[in-house]
Symmetry: C2
DNA sequence: GGGACCGGGG
DNA sequence: CCCCGGTCCC
């Protein structure tokens, strides 16, 4: 089974890129999208259903939005924190549509778009940290039901220095501060491992390059898109690759897909 | 000699269409553009100079803007009413960049983008009529200097019922009212003839189709782009054609080129 | 419907 | 740098 994650930065703008990518990657079973940036009523279902995919969407206007595109029907699709946790202490953490989960073949797949955080120490940064803390409770609840949990998406955190083209002054950079790393580590310590690192110990592998200042041309990237797997899935995994091809196309997303093979 | 007029609805958005069109129409000597929608500092000169064309521009931010693209250098380029008339009674008629003229091989070529008028009877409609009245004085001044005057561009008036796909209720439609026609006729009565009609008496030939409601697919068009010629040039003319091909391309301008052969 | 600008977000 | 959503204009 192949599961992919891709922050597409608008599913409508990128629909042709996504369809072309599915055509050249027909063995991908589930594609997890982030930043669909579209309300559910306007989601382009037809391009996917025409190609034989099911679509599961959780969108909002303008910002955020996640979706799962699957060859086979998914089961028990749940959107947002509250759908899993019941009443949550800070309901505003579900205002932004960033989290969808479903089951396929005994695997609990969680697709997420972690808040970016904007500026270190700002209000959005604090929201990001609170979001990650609630994510821990959310995943605890899922882990209580299944040992096979895969979480993937745009985590907006480079978890190690080798995941940033230039980690200098990283404490000033959102996505790179110790507190973000530690807060995410608290989540991952529930029993999730970075499957990309099972196969690739070296740095210099990135999943996002800023549109500005020729980030991609100069390979000034960050690895912020991941698949984190619980032990049974981690053992099963036979590959995890970053596909840089879509980032080379005209008018690309700033992110590129990451694919895990189980 | 071939002279073309084309309202491109943004020269930057349409630059590839324009260059492709020049490549397939290498015998066009002068291309008059309207609605360049770009300030002079941002005009894309290079695509034209790379292909061996001179560029003469008179632009503004967002709206309006005209340009002349020529294989040979043009002479005595003048922008706006005041450059020809000196002080004008209503200087605001030069606030919008809609008028450029130059000479080539003894022909005075005038490239214009007549105000649209927005709604019949409104403030912009009145501005359009005043603009056309000043145009008459402007052309009188040019005619005093040369018998060979060609005026072309987007006139935003369908001069006869056969120039509208459906002339019903035309008194309510801007670009079709008698007062617009009469005001433009006052200009043309200085000695200009519609050279398209030298070769084509039938209706159903249009140069503009609204983007909305499938205007082009249903051929709901208007003929509002013209070449009007003084007698010596009118006699010389051997062809005048509307080239609908660019309007069939993806992401086209709503107007298509009109080419006169002298 | 499709340009352009602006302001917000990354 | 590029996306979105408003607003203006045609």
């Amino acid at each position: 089974m192949k599961i992919a994650t891709w922050n597409v930065n608008s599913v409508r703008t990128r629909i042709n890129h996504i369809c072309d990518w599915l055509t050249t990657n027909p063995d991908v079973d589930v594609l997890c999208l982030q930043e669909t940036k579209v309300i559910d009523n306007d989601f382009p279902h037809a391009p996917f259903s025409d190609r034989g995919y099911q679509t599961y969407i959780y969108g909002q206007k303008s910002y955020n939005g996640v979706a799962m595109i699957s060859r086979s029907p998914l089961e028990n699709v749940q959107m947002g924190f509250a759908s899993v946790l019941g009443k949550i202490a800070e309901p505003s953490l579900d205002d932004q549509k960033r989290l969808i989960t479903a089951q396929l073949a005994g695997i609990q797949i969680v697709n997420m778009y972690v808040p970016n955080g904007s500026e270190v120490g700002g209000e959005k940064y604090e929201y990001k940290l609170r979001w990650l803390r609630l994510l821990k409770l959310y995943l605890q609840a899922l882990l209580a039901q299944s040992p096979n949990v895969l979480i993937c998406g745009d985590f907006n955190v480079a978890i190690a220095d080798i995941d940033i083209y230039d980690p200098k002054n990283r404490e000033t950079k959102v996505m790179a501060t110790d507190i973000e790393r530690d807060t995410l580590a608290e989540v991952l310590n529930l029993g999730f491992q970075d499957v990309f690192r099972k196969f690739e110990p070296e740095g210099g592998h990135f999943s996002w390059w800023d549109y500005r200042a020729g980030g991609f041309a100069r390979n000034r990237g960050w690895r912020i898109d991941y698949h984190f797997l619980t032990a049974p899935l981690y053992e099963r995994a036979t590959a995890c690759v970053i596909d840089k091809e879509p980032r080379k196309m005209p008018q690309p997303s700033d992110h590129t897909p990451v694919i895990v093979t189980l």
